[in-house]
């Protein structure tokens, strides 16, 4: 049975996934994060709160700045989910299988 835990639920939202993708490149402030999106900083802050409560990101205190960053443990947690990511690789290799299946006839013709 698959349990929809908090992290999974947090990543069900495309904006939050985009925020995670941005933070994978390095820490960022709310202003940095709001820039590429057509939504307000308060809206971004709400998304950040959900991600933080899910344990995916954390806040660093730097003077008056509050940059957010991915939690190292969260990356490990994502990796646990990557059983699903394996499925993507497998899909790619299945496309390769199909190419290989197509090749056999041709190879046999050329060697006969």
């Amino acid at each position: 049975m698959i349990i929809l835990d908090q992290s999974f639920a947090a990543l069900a939202d495309p904006t939050r996934r985009a925020i995670i993708a941005r933070l994978a490149k390095g820490e960022a402030t709310v202003q940095d994060l709001a820039r590429p999106f057509s939504i307000s900083q308060p809206a971004i802050s709400r998304h950040l709160k959900v991600l933080e409560e899910a344990g995916l990101i954390e806040t660093r205190i730097d003077g008056t700045a509050r940059p957010r960053r991915l939690k190292p443990d969260a990356v490990a947690a994502l990796w646990d989910w990557l059983g699903q990511y394996r499925a993507l690789w497998e899909m790619q290799f299945q496309k390769m299988d199909a190419v290989l299946d197509g090749l056999s006839d041709e190879s046999e013709r050329s060697t006969s």
Binding site: I2, L4, A21, P72, S107
Partner: protein, 150 residues
């Protein structure tokens, strides 16, 4: 689409490596062709606007899609069995992954082992997070299907 993962292993090794092992039902000579002939590579990678591969030591590859490309030098190649190449992302040399691909006869088929070595633990973590989020829509779609079916 039914995904059977029995033929695929994917593990993290040490601080910097991702290792993928996949079995194919075809012999190494054919798998090598699918991995190195541009006309074939394009068939299974899909959607490319440019595909070049010169699988010799000193050669290079360039795989380009509409919005990005991977390219880099071939460091070592032993036709049909082994290749080591470096991947840069869209010309950014600071993105540096060394990929070693080995093909071994396995029964009547082939066992492929790919080792992707990142510059450091952080680079690997970023690559995982990026790859994960990039592909998340697809993964999520599939999970929803699973959940619905369950």
């Amino acid at each position: 689409m039914n995904i059977n993962l029995a033929k695929l292993q994917l593990v993290l090794d040490g601080e910097t490596d991702i290792i993928i092992r996949r079995d194919f039902t075809h012999p190494p000579a054919r798998v090598w062709r699918a991995l190195t002939e541009p006309a074939l590579i394009q068939q299974w990678l899909g959607g490319m606007k440019r595909c070049e591969m010169d699988p010799r030591p000193g050669g290079a590859f360039h795989y380009e899609w509409e919005e990005f490309f991977f390219s880099g030098p071939i460091l070592a190649a032993d036709a049909l069995h082994h290749m080591t190449h470096v991947e840069h992302f869209s010309g950014d040399a600071s993105y540096h992954v060394e990929v070693t691909t080995d093909l071994a006869a396995h029964g009547t088929g082939t066992r492929m082992t790919m080792v992707m070595r990142y510059a450091n633990a952080g680079a690997r973590a970023a690559a995982i997070a990026n790859g994960f989020t990039d592909s998340f829509d697809e993964i999520y779609g599939r999970l929803e299907t699973l959940l619905t079916a369950g």
